[in-house]
């Protein structure tokens, strides 16, 4: 039996984003590995490009925004 394709729903918000999939007929939010916003499973809609070429997203990207404002994208919508 081949593996079935999974569908995930993504909500790209201005401030926060989240992704969910269906499990047993109910949507389930996928927690972010890098940590979530306080009291939720969302993560900040922030992307950062570091000087050494790394791309950081979510909570860590938000944490370095003060240090690296020219290369941090937030509130994009």
């Amino acid at each position: 039996m081949s593996k079935t394709a999974k569908i995930i729903g993504i909500d790209l918000g201005t401030t926060n984003s989240e992704a969910a999939y269906m499990e047993g007929g109910a949507p389930k939010i996928i927690p972010s590995a890098e940590g979530s916003t306080y009291g939720g499973k969302m993560f900040p809609s922030v992307v950062a490009f570091t000087k050494d070429g790394q791309i950081i997203v979510g909570e860590p990207a938000k944490r370095q925004a003060v240090l690296n404002p020219e290369r941090t994208v937030m509130q994009i919508k």
């Binding site: 039996m1 593996k3 499990e23 950081i56 860590p60 990207a61 944490r63 370095q64 003060v66």
Partner: protein, 185 residues
């Protein structure tokens, strides 16, 4: 050579009676239905298996991180103790420090670790930059000072350390090649 044997008439060539045709259609429909149901069953079985595995994993995690919420709520108390130690002097200060050490020791035993920060390169996965400072003795991107201590709980970041990071507004740390030559002249 021998005469060719007369070919037996295949059943397909015989026109079916209306009843037989109907029965054949029904049989085909039923077969299709069974196939669909079996496929659906296989999907459900796979999903059940996945759910079971995930539930097991979640239970393991829940057990491992059972105290996370409680420890998390104790962090502000630790912060207050930090502040109290800083502001108290003499005997009183020493007493507070000992209390703090004991609290930290107890929490350490259940998995709390302080995130090392001061003097290290800023790491957004464990640090949060809340302030920029200048310091000629340190290169850009180094943590100069810890504003609020950060902690991990069983290797997972419970709260990032809030830090002041060195950054010189006029220092160019990434020298781009041909910078001089590209100047307008």
């Amino acid at each position: 050579m021998a005469n060719e044997a007369p070919e037996p008439e295949t059943p397909e060539t015989v026109p079916l009676s209306p009843d037989a045709a109907r029965l054949q259609r029904e049989l085909e429909d039923a077969r299709k239905n069974v196939e669909e149901v079996l496929t659906r069953l296989a999907y459900l079985q796979a999903e059940l298996e996945n759910t079971r595995k995930r539930a097991e994993r979640e239970v393991d995690q829940a057990v491992q991180y059972a105290n996370e919420a409680l420890v998390s709520r104790l962090l502000p108390v630790l912060d207050d103790l930090d502040a109290a130690v800083l502001s108290a002097k003499g005997k009183e200060g020493r007493g507070l420090e000992m209390i703090r050490e004991n609290v930290v020791k107890a929490l350490k035993e259940s998995g709390l670790e302080e995130i090392p920060s001061e003097g290290l390169p800023f790491d957004p996965y464990v640090h949060e930059c809340v302030q920029l400072v200048e310091d000629d003795a340190l290169p850009d991107g180094r943590v100069k000072e810890v504003v609020q201590r950060g902690y991990t709980f069983r290797k997972r970041v419970l709260r990032p350390a809030r830090v002041a990071v060195v950054k010189h507004p006029n220092r160019q740390d990434d020298n781009e090649p041909g910078q001089e030559g590209e100047q307008d002249g």
